[in-house]
Structure formats: C-alpha cells, structure tokens
C-alpha cells in the first residue's frame, strides 16, 4: 500500500511537469524547423492534437445556452453596450438601434440591418457575402488553396469527393470544374466575421446549389491568429458546404463554424443541424472527415445579395 501511495504521489507530482517539458521541447524544435525552412510558424502535430482535444464543443454549447437566456430590460443597455464597445458594433445600421429590443445576447448577435444600408454592386462579378475581413483570396492551384499566405489546405478535404460527374480522371481540380477547355480557373476567397460584425450572410452571386454537405468536425477558433498557426483548420472545423453552378461554372459556398459560433442556420435548409450534442467527448472528433449529404431541389436558386442564413451563438 505504501509503495502504491508513493508511486501515485510521484505520478501526480511529475506528470504535469513532464507534459509541460515535452510541450516546450516540441515547440522549440518546431520553431527552429520553421525558421530554418523560412516557413510561417505553424502548429506541430502534437500541438494540433492538444488543441483539438480541448472541449470546445461543450464550451460552445454552454455559451449558446447562456447567450439565449432572457436578459432583463434594465440590464440590456449595460450588457449590450459593453459588448458593442468591446467589439465595435455599429448600432446605427441595425434595424432596431435600441438595445432594449433584444431579449438575449444571442438575438443581439444576429441583429438584422436596416433596409438599404448594404447596397449591392451590380458591376461586380462577385460581391461580398458577409461583413468581415478578407483573410485570403486567390486561385486554387495544384489541388491546394491557401488559408493564409504560405499555409495551404486541400480542396478535396474541404469539399469532399466529386460524385456528381461521370468524368472522373483523378485530377480533382479538373473534375470539379464544369468547363474543361482551359479557359477557366478555380478561385477562392475567405472572409472572417469578427464578434462585433453583422452575423447574417448573403449570396455573392446568382447561382444554383445542387447539393449540401455537412461536415461534423471540430469547433476550433477561426481567429486570424489561429488560422495562421493551425494548418488545415478549415478542413477540421464543422461546416456546411453548398455546391452547384453559376454562369461561369462550378460554385461553392461554405459557412464554417467556430468556437462559440458553431450553430450555422440556413433559412431554406431546415434539415441542417449543426453543433449537436455529442456527449462529454473531450478528444478530437474521429468522424470529422465524414459528412452527410442531401441533394437540393432543382428549383433552389440564390439571387445576388439574397440573405441565406446566419451564424448563431453556441
């Protein structure tokens, strides 16, 4: 019994020290390697596993529950005022500029805008689907798209396989494209919505979605610093991807969830259920590359600037 007590005491005392030491060594080695190879400083696989193991889904669901709680009218100006100052909310653009209108922080977060405050640029081929910051844009080359400068992720991991074409030749980019005469290219654009931004999103062009894929993944933060640090982040996170056609070929639109903002709502798709309770699962989600898919009706059509959905708290 005495030996067992000593051994348990030893483990309790030194295990955290060992984990910290291992983490520091791993961080140092990874930093040196990145500096040697002049690469952006990104997470090692150990750091990535530790981060993915955090109970972020449980935290998000708790936050969602708290944010949906009724806020007494007398407290609303203080709570929402603090939030507005902290995250730069512009209430002059809101349809209801009075803080007292919003029953909960969740309702305040998804506040609608006044008619006419977001004119649509009709000369543009593609317009912004959301209020936010451009994280990255460019062409998708060699089956990879850039998350940020120098950090790539795979298009096929992000979208899943092409199953709607018969002409499958092993070249994912060519399989994806509708026009294969060499006149077109794949382009991408990533827009980050900060906590104070308007959290409803719109269609960037006229297009017809054919299918929707829901990837149940992690709910990692998509803060630009984390995006810089964690390669493949968009392929790890829970997301709803709509794929279809526009006048120039293939078109896809993905709403990627994040910590505390994992509930993606698409108004025309009631079957989409994101950020579902998975029990007290603490480790990385094992099925994050598996998705469920539904085919959309041929009548589904999105107009330019049309409101598509919103990111809810939780």
């Amino acid at each position: 019994h005495s030996a067992w007590t000593k051994w348990t005491g030893f483990l309790l005392r030194w295990t955290p020290v060992g984990i910290c030491l291992f983490g520091v060594i791993d961080w140092q080695l990874h930093k040196q390697k990145s500096e040697r190879e002049s690469l952006p400083r990104t997470a090692s696989s150990f750091q990535s596993k530790v981060y993915c193991s955090l109970p972020l889904r449980i935290i998000s669901r708790c936050w969602g529950w708290l944010a949906a709680c009724y806020v007494p009218v007398s407290l609303r100006p203080y709570i929402y005022g603090w939030y507005s100052n902290a995250f730069g909310v512009n209430m002059e653009e809101a349809l209801y500029p009075d803080y007292k209108y919003y029953n909960s922080l969740a309702a305040f977060f998804t506040r609608p805008l006044r008619e006419g405050v977001r004119p649509i640029d009709n000369r543009a081929a593609i317009v912004s689907p959301a209020d936010g910051r451009v994280l990255h844009f460019g062409s998708a080359q060699n089956k990879l798209i850039e998350e940020v400068k120098g950090v790539n992720y795979s298009v096929s991991s992000f979208l899943g396989p092409v199953t709607w074409h018969k002409r499958l030749n092993g070249n994912f980019e060519e399989e994806l494209k509708e026009i294969n005469d060499g006149s077109t290219e794949l382009f991408q654009c990533v827009i980050y919505l900060a906590p104070g931004d308007y959290h409803r999103f719109h269609s960037p062009a006229e297009w017809q979605p054919k299918l929707r894929r829901h990837f149940v993944g992690e709910l990692l933060s998509v803060n630009p610093r984390i995006v810089n640090w964690l390669p493949d982040l968009f392929c790890l996170n829970e997301r709803a991807v709509y794929m279809g056609k526009w006048e120039h070929g293939f078109f896809s639109y993905a709403a990627v969830g994040a910590t505390n903002v994992g509930s993606v709502q698409i108004y025309m798709d009631d079957d989409l259920k994101t950020n579902r309770w998975m029990g007290l699962q603490l480790g990385a989600h094992k099925d994050r590359h598996i998705y469920d898919e539904i085919e959309l009706s041929n009548k589904t059509h999105f107009g330019r600037g049309e409101m598509l959905g919103q990111f809810n708290m939780g």
Partner: protein, 32 residues
C-alpha cells in the same frame, strides 16, 4: 465564423480586394 467561397471563373477574373481589408455585404470582391 468564416465564409469560404470557391468558384470557377474565366482566367481574366480579377479580385478587387486586399488581404486584411474590411468588406461589407454587397461590396465588390471581383470583376470580369
């Protein structure tokens, strides 16, 4: 939260934005 657009367009498609730029709904992202 993040929106990721991935689309096919003619090779002469040009983005009209800069990395880090703040954009609002309806503003141009690119032209043909």
């Amino acid at each position: 939260s993040t929106i990721v657009l991935l689309f096919e367009a003619p090779k002469n498609f040009k983005f009209t934005i800069k990395t880090g730029q703040k954009v609002k709904v309806g503003e141009s992202l690119g032209v043909l």
